[in-house]
Symmetry: C2
Subunit: 455 residues, 2 copies
């Protein structure tokens, strides 16, 4: 399983409905409560602090990057000589974005971080943590994070915590958790955290190839966020499994046991949902609310998406869990009742709870939730966040469609060139979106040089 | 640069003086303050909590693993045909531990974690987080952490957060910071965190080979620790540099620019120390103490050790920093005055401040400090921690000395076999310490199977 947690179509539709707008974010609290501590020289005394965690820690802003080219899955079915509908209906896939030989994990992350900072009008020294979650390893030692430090160079800000985090598609989620923990801890110095999730998922020719993808997301994390991470409820499930892994280090392609991976995904979903429910019900009981948590208590659900069909099945799976957990299930309530919660329009996002299930093969999985702020008025943090994502459909529409023959040729080129030294990637850079970073050259010592397309 | 932060000899001597003792750790607070939150079903309400961070978050227990064999650097000098003293005096190296073909990063971490849990008499379900910092990547996707979940199997505990963290030798430090932040955050559920730092550092024949090493450390992190992480003072420096990196994914060997790496190490040390001083002086000023922080305010210093000579130079470097930062430096005070602080005997560890400088090429570096608890009485947490490490010298002495010819042969064997499939590592397992996990077999799908030598 390869992609970061993906949003359901419905969530994208919500964002799409709102128009694009750029805005400056207000500076974070630069006087850290963390520093209001007692200390001494002669003897080393205990530091104590009674401040509470900052309010509403979560996601303040989001930036999404995807490649400028894609292949139609309908055409890929024909090209691969499989029955019609195998990819589109069987897997629920429609279009697959993919990277040219000019792009690698570093260039993707450079683009998305610079875009986040520029569009949010942040200063580079307002960032105190930057962490990357990825399984697209092009160097076993040097973190993508260190490559991103090039962006900070002019600001002189090098005091930026966090490095790279890896386990299949779970790395981004772990980074988000780490960053939120940082903001609530004594380590926080009042500045923002930036969480980057990025991957280039490519497969050898065969069954798994249509489930590839590529992209990167950068999230700005701090207090007083419109998407607040709910506290003390997340459920995690970790296990030793060989369902999807990358032991052939010289290849971009993973080893995949597709059927095993689907079983693991569902098992992890069951376990995480069970723990999540237990924790949230325990919180409710403390404030006098005694009812079982069900899928209806989520107004939206986000799933890690190995392929789209699996997400549809996952919703059903969670309803089944509710049914099994209910002491006296109302069998009259109808199969689709639970789906009512997914029929929201844009305005109803405010105040809702969004569940998120993240899965990384190997395996690591968590179910957590975010609460959307109540204030959806124009100019509110929520309005700004949604507005910033309103160009997603336009950007998706602006991608270039590439025929399967060309797609296969580019995949072959990546296979043959992705680890060459003394190498300049071939082909035109003109198809990249404006402002995209790309790999310019790999020198004789494997050092990678990047450049940026003008905005 | 490859090894996790290493302790200076002096620290080892302190521990050596105390006798070995096993002890049960008391269970952590299983009722998490984090869950005392208000919540509701109908609308999703803000979670508020006024509890302060837990007291004295830091390292409760430590476990160290190193291979059972080593090569004498004096002999390696002869074997390599270099001038006498090049490795021993020039680099300050004495003996180099190394792994046989039976060991990989997974087996090292399995051993050290099981040893920590067994010797501390912990239950596997008292652990709520487990994180691994490593740059020894044998799978680009599947985290070492997931392999360690095998140890939890019988307990049924799968709700264990944290995955792997990577940037050269800095991964372990980042994991320690993440885990301490977790304990202070709303994510904490009252259980322990375990931080694992492990690496197998091997170099191609040539200048860098004598700076190799291998080992793993597991740390138990929680509140009321005898080694407390000091709050709000750490200084971090991150930069984009190609001083040491591992772009040849099929090889165990890195690319190294030794001279550049030493420059980077010192630059990072200067930067981190400068930030650390600024932060701690600002804390002091808030409580009315107005004096510059100098090296004398650390009673002990721990350095990341690429090779031992660099650490000696680093101490001098920090004194130079003090001198340059002083408004009216007392040039009469003598070069060695600052070193007085390092002449402590075992009993004086209590109450002291230990500075720690961690460096990972690429680069990521931090200077942070730990405060040692005041209570050193028999049975105190500090006494228990030190006692548990008192067998280090005995264990070092019990290692088997291997002649350079055999060392070179084993290195060659690793080169040729470390990524084979359908492979059983050759040679005898009898030299491994009792209780050591080892790689038993890699099957045709790259899946790794481990076994353990009896205790």
């Amino acid at each position: 399983m390869f992609r970061l947690f993906s949003q359901t179509r419905r969530c994208l539709q919500v964002k799409r409905a709102l128009k694009r707008q750029e805005w400056p974010l207000r500076p974070a609290h630069l006087t850290a409560a963390a520093q209001q501590a007692s200390f001494s020289t002669a003897s080393v005394e205990h530091l104590s602090r009674s401040d509470s965690w900052p309010k509403d820690v979560g996601i303040l802003a989001l930036e999404v990057y995807f490649p400028s080219q894609y292949v139609e899955q309908v055409e890929l079915e024909k090209y691969d000589g499989v029955e019609a509908g195998k990819y589109t209906l069987g897997l629920g896939q429609k279009q697959m974005g993919f990277c040219s030989a000019h792009e690698d994990i570093n260039s993707l992350c450079l683009t998305v971080v610079q875009r986040l900072v520029e569009r949010s009008r942040l200063s580079w020294d307002s960032i105190g943590r930057l962490e990357v979650g990825t399984e697209t390893i092009i160097d076993k030692s040097k973190a993508v994070k260190t490559v991103l430090m090039q962006l900070f160079q002019d600001s002189g800000n090098t005091d930026v915590e966090g490095i790279d985090t890896t386990n299949a598609c779970y790395g981004g989620t772990a980074s988000l958790f780490n960053s939120a923990d940082w903001v609530e801890s004594s380590s926080w110095d009042g500045r923002y955290a930036v969480v980057v999730c990025g991957d280039i998922a490519v497969y050898a020719t065969g069954n798994a190839r249509p489930t590839g993808g590529a992209g990167a997301v950068a999230m700005l994390v701090g207090p007083e966020a419109p998407l607040v991470l709910e506290r003390g409820v997340r459920g995690t499930h970790m296990e030793h499994v060989y369902d999807f892994y990358k032991p052939d280090l010289a290849s971009e392609y993973p080893m995949v046991d597709g059927q095993l991976s689907i079983q693991c995904y569902f098992r992890a979903l069951d376990q995480c949902y069970s723990i999540y429910r237990k924790k949230i019900q325990s919180q409710w009981q403390k404030v006098g609310v005694d009812k079982p948590f069900t899928l209806e208590d989520f107004q939206f659900m986000i799933f890690h998406t190995p392929f789209c069909k699996l997400v549809q099945k996952s919703v059903g799976r969670m309803m089944l869990n509710d049914f099994l957990a209910a002491p006296n299930p109302d069998t009259q309530s109808g199969l689709y009742k639970g789906l009512q919660a997914f029929r929201y329009s844009a305005q109803q996002l405010a105040g809702s709870r969004i569940g998120a299930f993240s899965y990384g093969s190997g395996l690591a999985a968590s179910l957590f939730s975010m609460r959307v702020s109540q204030d959806a008025a124009p100019g509110s943090p929520l309005d700004k966040l949604l507005s910033s994502l309103s160009d997603l459909q336009t950007r998706l529409d602006a991608r270039k469609q590439v025929p399967p023959e060309e797609f296969a040729e580019i995949m072959k080129q990546r296979e043959e060139t992705h680890h060459l030294v003394n190498h300049t990637p071939q082909g035109s850079k003109d198809d990249l979106f404006p402002g995209t970073w790309y790999l310019e050259r790999v020198d004789d010592k494997h050092r990678r040089q990047y450049a940026r397309r003008p905005l």
